[in-house]
């Protein structure tokens, strides 16, 4: 094992060679730390008890769940996820404010009954959905606000990457790694606007430069140069 010959601690954790304690893009807690949140214009949580449906529309990986979780951390209230299959057959919870993720999977009779109950109790429902539920909500007596999340673009990706890296940096250790503009554009093109797909690519990117640093026997006194930052394709 080459890396072990170079430095045993890097064999245990190659990210130490970059001054990180882990890959910055490993999946972590479902609620993102406030310092890692990127404001895209909808950071303020909806108002509870407003007899309304706030629907967040966007393709897979565009940040619907992240927004629901971010708001729920501000307002409290119940969060319900609707998986594909039989798991979607559960009664949607209605409280002062309630969050339903993948709400388009809720069977129509359950959805209609819950929307009606929300209107009668003047609740706020916040839903992540792939299909527009506004007609059903208005029919049930709820005001509707629709948020359409845009695809991820390179500038935002670079800001997010920088924050993710800061979150895993070892204290007092210099870090010379940054995502170049060219690589960010390449990743956003591959990811087709999806944060989740971009994070997969960034995880691979981070792993590649960590392994390169280990192979070359670098340590944190010799930061990774810009030349090392080209995206490694699988």
């Amino acid at each position: 094992m080459t890396s072990l010959r170079l430095n045993p601690k890097f064999a245990l954790n190659p990210y130490l060679a970059l001054g990180w304690h882990a890959n910055p893009f490993a999946l972590g807690e479902p609620v993102m730390a406030p310092s890692l949140w990127i404001d895209r214009g909808w950071s303020q949580a909806p108002v509870p008890a407003a007899q309304q449906l706030v629907q967040v529309l966007g393709n897979k990986g565009f940040g619907k769940t992240a927004h629901l979780r971010h708001w729920q951390a501000q307002t409290g209230g119940v969060y319900a996820y609707y998986p594909p299959g039989w798991g979607r057959f559960k009664v949607p919870p209605v409280q002062t404010i309630a969050y339903w993720d993948e709400a388009d999977r809720i069977p129509a009779p359950l959805l209609l009954a819950a929307l009606g109950r929300a209107a009668r109790t003047r609740a706020t429902l916040v839903v992540g959905t792939h299909t527009d539920l506004s007609r059903l909500a208005k029919f049930s007596g709820l005001a509707v606000q629709t948020i359409r999340l845009p695809p991820l673009e390179a500038t935002t990706l670079r800001i997010w990457t920088e924050r993710q890296i800061q979150a895993v940096r070892l204290p007092t250790v210099p870090c010379g790694v940054e995502l170049s503009s060219a690589t960010a554009h390449e990743i956003t093109a591959i990811a087709q606007g999806s944060w989740r797909a971009a994070a997969d690519e960034l995880h691979i990117w981070a792993a590649a430069i960590a392994h390169q640093a280990v192979r070359e026997g670098r340590d944190r006194r010799h930061p990774i140069s810009q030349a090392d930052l080209s995206l490694r394709r699988r």
Binding site: N23, H203, A208
Partner: protein, 121 residues
């Protein structure tokens, strides 16, 4: 809190990991609960998976203030592994973890982790 002394930090599957967990604390707050175990876990872009292979027997009453207490352990790493892996999308990490729950007044839990390597034969 704890120190870890591995006899061998690199183990091949089917062989024994051994070492000594050493407790020492001048802290007034002695733990109410404590545990230590040998386990592996995954880290990366998939759902986390983990499995505890061995629990190091220790009781909170054994953790005495201002006194070093040794907890020697030995565990055979399963032939089936998994082996330590640092991949592009996922890592498999083996470690010993010690955890103590301190009294409510101190409002602290304390976890320490010591990784080691599991290699194929």
């Amino acid at each position: 809190m704890f120190e870890m002394h591995f006899h061998n930090k690199l183990v091949t599957v089917g062989n024994e990991l051994s070492g000594k967990l050493v407790w020492y604390s001048p802290d007034l707050h002695l733990p109410r609960q404590a545990s230590a175990f040998v386990y592996w876990y995954t880290e990366g872009r998939g759902d986390r998976d983990d499995q505890t292979i061995f629990t190091i027997p220790l009781q909170p009453e054994q953790l005495i203030r201002d006194q070093r207490v040794d907890f020697p352990f030995a565990v055979t790493i399963p032939h089936s592994g998994p082996i330590t892996y640092n991949g592009s999308l996922i890592r498999v990490i083996w470690a010993v973890q010690a955890w103590v729950k301190l009294p409510r007044s101190s409002k602290r839990d304390h976890t320490q982790t010591w990784p080691f390597l599991v290699m194929p034969r």
